[in-house]
């Protein structure tokens, strides 16, 4: 069911708990090294050593001057750091003509928590008036606007907010913009900075955070571990990439999304399955073509067994052959940015023919009976992969990529 133009991946950039840059990210994934641990940030002391996946040693001043910091929440800072790497990696230089033919579509789930939570604390606890930079700094579309201003990108730009599925929806919409001819290039992905004390405590109150680490598909898993950062993927019309001899990581071949109309926090097998089937259909792929699944794999008791059942339902006899991993075990769950990290993992897996593992794996959980590539990366010949994201609110988005 391929319609429209072919879309390829020509640039990658990220900042995550595994450090700054895709090189560091990918080598950590391949070594099964997790970025999860107690926070080293004094501003997060009230988390009482609960595990988080924070960017190690992040200091805004290492990346931005004082004036930029005044108007950029961390969601914008992270997005710009990742975008700068991805644009350089793609070898793109924007003039007026390319700027007009380029879009920016990013996912974000939680908004500018550092700015909003900080202003509220100042106002209520310290009686400090709210400063005038609060609104410009806190607008949720700040990340895409800052990238647009920095690079002179004047095509379509917006932020998609669908909780944990935000990045996958953003990449899917970017794919549509290129396929339909509205853009030749889209800077796509996601950004999230949810680790403030009040926002962390709100997640904790839901009782779905693991108190030790993130252990997807393991028997002893307790829940997710909050992460932060941004992942940027440069998507490009294949003909555009070819004309400038760009290096191609993989094709973004299909995209499926659906809504559960079921529950705010529980995964509906039917909704998630429809998103996977649509992703396969739009990519002209059969279940048997898929070699790797980057699972949603949050590490919550409910998600991982439900996701396993959904995979069995769609892939039937091929399910045991699939290599499945949850890289959230290493970069944590960065909510609206997670899908961007995971799509970078998929693009690198297809390009390098190496499957990143599920780290922190102990013994398989009940109803978790597939090959989760436990703890050690595995070289494998794969032609196609999918990346799952099932968000709170019952929103699902699945991406299909091919070599």
């Amino acid at each position: 069911m391929q319609t429209g133009r072919e879309v390829v991946v020509t640039g990658l950039g990220c900042i995550t708990a595994l450090g700054v840059g895709v090189k560091q990210f990918w080598s950590s994934l391949c070594n099964g090294r997790s970025g999860i641990g107690p926070s080293a940030d004094p501003d997060r002391a009230a988390l009482n050593d609960a595990p988080v996946a924070e960017i190690p040693g992040y200091q805004p001043a290492d990346h931005f001057n004082a004036r930029s910091q005044r108007f950029m929440d961390r969601i914008s800072q992270y997005a710009l750091i990742a975008a700068s790497e991805a644009i350089q990696d793609a070898g793109l230089e924007f003039d007026a003509e390319l700027g007009e033919r380029t879009g920016i579509i990013l996912g974000n789930g939680m908004g500018a928590r550092h700015t909003v939570d900080g202003a509220l604390e100042d106002l209520y606890a310290k009686n400090i008036p709210v400063p005038p930079n609060t609104i410009p700094k806190a607008i949720i579309s700040g990340p895409s606007s800052h990238i647009s201003i920095q690079y002179g990108i004047t095509g379509p730009s917006w932020i998609v907010s669908t909780t944990c599925a935000s990045s996958n929806h953003a990449l899917g919409q970017a794919w549509d913009l290129i396929r339909s001819g509205q853009a030749d290039v889209v800077i796509a992905g996601g950004t999230e900075a949810p680790i403030t004390v009040p926002t962390f405590k709100a997640w904790q109150a839901l009782r779905i955070l693991d108190t030790v680490t993130c252990r997807p598909f393991s028997k002893d898993r307790q829940g997710l571990v909050l992460g932060e950062g941004a992942g940027i993927i440069v998507l490009e019309a294949a003909e555009h990439a070819q004309a400038r001899n760009a290096r191609v990581y993989c094709r973004l071949a299909g995209y499926g999304c659906s809504s559960d109309a079921y529950d705010l926090t529980k995964v509906s097998p039917a909704g998630a399955a429809r998103a996977i089937k649509t992703a396969l259909k739009t990519a002209d792929l059969e279940p048997v073509d898929i070699g790797y699944i980057n699972a949603h794999g949050t590490g919550t008791p409910l998600n991982d067994s439900a996701e396993t059942a959904i995979i069995h339902g769609i892939f039937t006899t091929h399910a045991p052959n699939l290599l499945i991993s949850s890289t959230k075990s290493m970069h944590g769950h960065a909510l609206g940015a997670s899908g961007s990290f995971e799509f970078i993992a998929v693009a690198k897996a297809l390009a390098e023919q190496v499957i990143p593992p599920t780290a922190n794996f102990t013994t398989a959980g009940d109803d978790c009976d597939l090959d989760y590539v436990p703890n050690i990366a595995r070289p494998a010949e794969i032609q196609a992969a999918i990346s799952n994201a099932f968000g709170f609110g019952g929103v699902n988005a699945v991406l299909a990529a091919t070599r």
């Binding site: 004036r67 005038p132 930079n133």
Partner: protein, 83 residues
């Protein structure tokens, strides 16, 4: 007071623009300093916090130069002493 105020305004703007204070003088317009209206509002807020005063909204938006800012604050502090 006025000399000290001018010095402090220049220092805050210099910090904001990350330029040496010697490159900023009372006659500099915000345009010349590369400051947008959003920057001007933010600088005004920082001065208000430091000096414990509050300029009205219409005052804030008529401020286009370092001198305007000094004048606005001087007027406000003088009014404060007179009442």
């Amino acid at each position: 007071m006025t000399d000290n105020l001018e010095q402090r305004v220049v220092e805050i703007i210099a910090q904001f623009t990350e330029t040496p204070p010697s490159s900023i003088h009372a006659g500099s317009t915000f345009d010349e300093l590369g400051l947008t209206s959003l920057d001007a509002v933010t600088i005004t807020y920082e001065l208000e916090q430091e000096l414990g005063i509050e300029l009205t909204e219409s005052d804030t938006y008529s401020i286009n130069s370092v001198q305007d800012l000094i004048d606005g604050i001087t007027q406000l502090t003088r009014a404060g002493t007179e009442t």
